[in-house]
């Protein structure tokens, strides 16, 4: 019996076809695993299934009822999001029963009742926290379990969707969660389980659906599936003959040397970067890749270890020092850390380079305008003029402004943190080409952080895999995807 059914679902975002005519059905009493690389369309699918997004095309049927006609059917679906989004300064019980609607407390929140109701749930998950503990004071593993408890606290659900629910769980907590998931299955409810961890999928799942580039590429009973088959389907190795973008002009000169670096989210990391080289960093969300690079750049603190830039000891914890010594970081979160939204493209470009645009004491508007127009032309930024506020540009064009403004400072090291996040396929290739050009022609050392396996493999000369803040291997660009995938999910390579 199909409890949840999606028929011919298509979802389009500007420049990206996120879901391409997907058909998928979920049965009662079944654990259905979904796997795919980042950007494959898993999250978009989930958001369509939970009613967050409305697909342009297609139908979603819950219990045979079209959700377009009856949106309240979405209440049958419980959802555990990937990222922890609890209220840190509220109690465990309050978080579980938020927004208190279905708990029958008509307007008044009865704390005692809330806490009493929370106790059996906490016991079931063998959680050693009190209902009145504040979320911020309990462990991350407990927090992630609370997320799952919150989803099932409203008992009238029939489908439970878990989006990578184990990324921060300890092994014991994961076991408890799995036992519970099996229990739900025995209650004849349906479970959708999304994970990057293949062992978990084989341990828990009944069937698996594999996504790639917004399409459902494979479906199988897990009894008939093998790990290599899944990885082949997931990565689509037959399209591997695509163009490569790694640097073909690497100098012997070491540019950046990081030795035994430890910070809050990474431990004992060492690596070297040569002039003209593109070094890829691969890892899942939470592997510490962004934190590592931000620490080297001086944005986050370094606890111990040393950094040398061109043989010279590099000061830590000072972004101004890094920038004036030619070390630039291009952030993953352009909106939060990259652009100055209300300012014009001109002002966004000149902000990194004002010293070179001055006539005596004051900024020369003429020089500033020239440099901005230069960047706009060089990087082919699509805008009517340089006075437009940057927030009105598309993501790809914003990224080009950010790259351009670093380039006018003659950088030595450039860190690209997820440079193609939210960017369409055409612009992606443009950015790859740009990175290659910068490395080969200007001898810039490039560090590329990406969670897209294809991207890292296509662009890097060497690849370092991180898992849980530790280095899990260093690979040449000829490494297979299987090797890399193992390393980023924490399986040590020999």
């Amino acid at each position: 019996m199909n409890i949840l059914e999606a028929k011919n679902i298509t979802k389009q975002f500007p420049g990206v076809l996120a879901l391409d005519s997907v058909d998928i059905t979920f049965k009662k009493g079944e654990i259905h695993c979904i796997i795919g690389e980042n950007g494959a369309g898993k999250s978009t699918l989930i958001k369509c299934l939970t009613g967050v997004y409305t697909a342009e095309n297609g139908q979603i049927l819950i219990n045979g009822t079209d959700t377009k006609k009856n949106r309240s059917m979405f209440e049958k679906i419980a959802y555990v999001p990937q990222e922890i989004d609890l209220f840190g300064h509220m109690s465990v019980a309050e978080n579980i029963f938020m927004p208190f609607e279905k708990s029958g407390f008509n307007g008044v929140v009865n704390q005692k009742l809330l806490q009493q109701n929370a106790i059996p749930l906490l016991k079931k998950f063998k959680l050693d926290v009190k209902p009145d503990d504040l979320i911020k004071d309990i462990s991350v593993s407990a927090q992630q379990l609370i997320q799952s408890i919150r989803a099932i606290a409203h008992e009238d659900y029939e489908v439970l969707i878990l989006d990578e629910p184990t990324t921060s769980l300890t092994t014991e907590d994961a076991k408890i969660l799995f036992d519970f998931i099996r229990e739900i299955k025995n209650q004849n409810k349906s479970v959708i389980f999304i994970s990057h961890k293949l062992e978990e999928i084989f341990e828990l799942g009944d069937v698996i659906t594999i996504f790639k580039n917004g399409q459902k590429v494979a479906y199988s009973d897990l009894k008939d599936a093998t790990i290599p088959w899944i990885i082949t389907k997931m990565t689509g190795r037959n399209v591997d003959q695509e163009k490569m973008f790694y640097s073909e002009n690497i100098s012997d000169e070491v540019l950046l040397e990081v030795d035994n670096l430890t910070g809050a989210d990474f431990t004992n990391i060492s690596f070297k970067l040569n002039k003209g080289e593109i070094l890829g960093f691969s890892g899942l969300v939470g592997s510490g890749r962004t934190e590592l690079m931000q620490a080297i750049f001086g944005y986050l603190p370094v606890y111990s270890g040393s950094i040398k830039l061109e043989g010279k000891e590099h000061k830590t914890g000072d972004t101004n020092y890094s920038v004036s010594n030619g070390f630039f970081y291009l952030p993953e979160d352009r909106k939060a850390q990259g652009i100055l939204p209300m300012l014009s493209i001109r002002e966004n470009i000149s902000a990194s380079n004002l010293d070179r645009l001055k006539n005596g004491l004051f900024i020369s508007s003429k020089k500033e305008k020239e440099s901005a127009e230069d960047v706009i032309n060089t990087y082919d930024i699509k805008t009517p003029d340089s006075e437009k506020a940057i927030k009105f540009l598309s993501g790809g064009n914003q990224q080009k402004v950010i790259i351009g403004r670093s380039m006018i400072c003659n950088p030595k090291v450039l860190v690209f943190d997820e440079p193609t996040k939210g960017i369409d396929v055409g612009t992606k290739a443009e950015i790859y080409r740009l990175m290659k050009e910068l490395a080969e022609e200007k001898g810039i050392g490039i560090i590329l952080i990406s969670s897209e396996m294809d991207e890292v493999k296509k662009c890097s000369n060497r690849i370092i895999a991180l898992y849980g803040g530790k280095k899990y291997g260093e690979f040449p660009c000829t490494a297979t995807k299987e090797e890399l995938l193992n390393a980023i999910i924490g399986v040590k390579s020999e």
Partner: protein, 336 residues
């Protein structure tokens, strides 16, 4: 439909494009209304005293707008002003220091007080509002310890003209305010620091990643605001002919109000310090008019408060109106 949008009320369009233009038009309108309803409004003496009043709020407002541009504020401006006025007065009267030298020293002290504010807020990572509420208590307290609440009289008469005098009928304090505005406009529009101020106000984290020394810039702004407060305090002493601890009592709130009326965003990144001067003028015209019209003394504060709220809502009102208009146009095109 596009045609329709283009025909959209040009007045509203103009106001949307620049808050400064909009708010200047409001001021102009208010002056016209004021001169119609009260025959005394355009009287030379009345205008001079109005302009002298607005000079002080305007000057502090210009400083305050620098802080608002990075998303912060300073509530101790009034107390710094009165403390610097007191210190200048004591140097002149009690220690016989040359009056111009005393004023210069007081100005330097204002810079120091501002820097202390800035260092506390950046180094201890304090919230600007709470920290400066605390510091206003400290500066006000020192003030009381020094004066026991009594005014310092006998200020040398040679500085009176700085507060009371005119050049070509324009009150001298106003000329100082214009001078401060010119310097601050140069700073914000033409120098590195100015650009960094807007960058920080737009996105503090992005500014850090650009290599901007965010905390250093913040401290610099606090010291500039300290200097401006001290200058206003000293000029006020010259205007009164005595140093009083009550100077600047309503400056913190009025300076923030004038900056906000002038289109400076409370959470940073948007606005022009010149707007603060226009905002100050609006506030001064309102309070002047209330007096001229003989509004009951007990009602004056309520009326002026209400008109200030009206003035602030003016810029957001234009946005609301144009949104409604767009909605209407869109709905009409859908119906067809």
């Amino acid at each position: 439909m596009n045609n329709n949008l283009l025909k959209n009320n040009t007045l509203i369009n103009m106001m949307k494009r620049s808050t400064l233009t909009a708010i200047s038009m409001v001021l102009f309108l208010m002056i016209i209304i004021a001169s119609i309803v009260s025959p005394y409004f355009l009287d030379k003496y009345n205008l001079q005293s109005l302009i002298r009043d607005l000079a002080f709020i305007g000057m502090i407002g210009i400083g305050q707008s620098l802080l608002l541009l990075v998303g912060e504020l300073d509530l101790s401006v009034g107390k710094i002003a009165s403390l610097c006025g007191i210190l200048a007065g004591m140097m002149m009267v009690n220690y016989g220091v040359n009056s111009y030298l005393a004023m210069l020293i007081a100005l330097v002290l204002g810079v120091i007080f501002g820097t202390i504010n800035g260092l506390l807020i950046t180094k201890l990572r304090l919230n600007a509002m709470v920290a400066t509420i605390g510091m206003q208590g400290v500066y006000g307290g020192i003030n009381l310890v020094l004066t026991k609440g009594k005014a310092i009289t006998g200020i040398p008469e040679n500085i009176y003209m700085l507060g009371k005098g005119h050049i070509a009928s324009i009150p001298i304090p106003f000329l100082f305010t214009v001078g401060v505005l010119v310097i601050i406009l140069f700073l914000t529009k033409k120098t590195k620091i100015g650009r960094y101020i807007y960058a920080i106000g737009n996105n503090k984290e992005a500014a850090k990643i650009l290599g901007i020394k965010v905390d250093k810039i913040r401290v610099i702004i606090y010291s500039i605001v300290g200097a401006i407060s001290a200058l206003a305090g000293i000029l006020y002493v010259a205007r009164l002919g005595s140093s009083q601890s009550s100077i600047g009592g309503n400056w913190p709130m009025n300076s923030i109000a004038s900056a906000v009326i002038g289109g400076v965003a409370l959470n940073g990144g948007i606005g022009n310090p010149a707007g603060a001067l226009v905002g100050a003028a609006i506030i001064s015209v309102i309070s002047n008019l209330i007096v001229l019209l003989g509004v009951n003394v007990y009602w004056q504060s309520a009326v002026s408060g209400f008109v200030v709220v009206l003035a602030i809502s003016f810029s957001s009102l234009s946005a609301i109106i144009s949104e409604k208009k767009q909605k209407k146009i869109k709905l009409e095109s859908v119906d067809k």
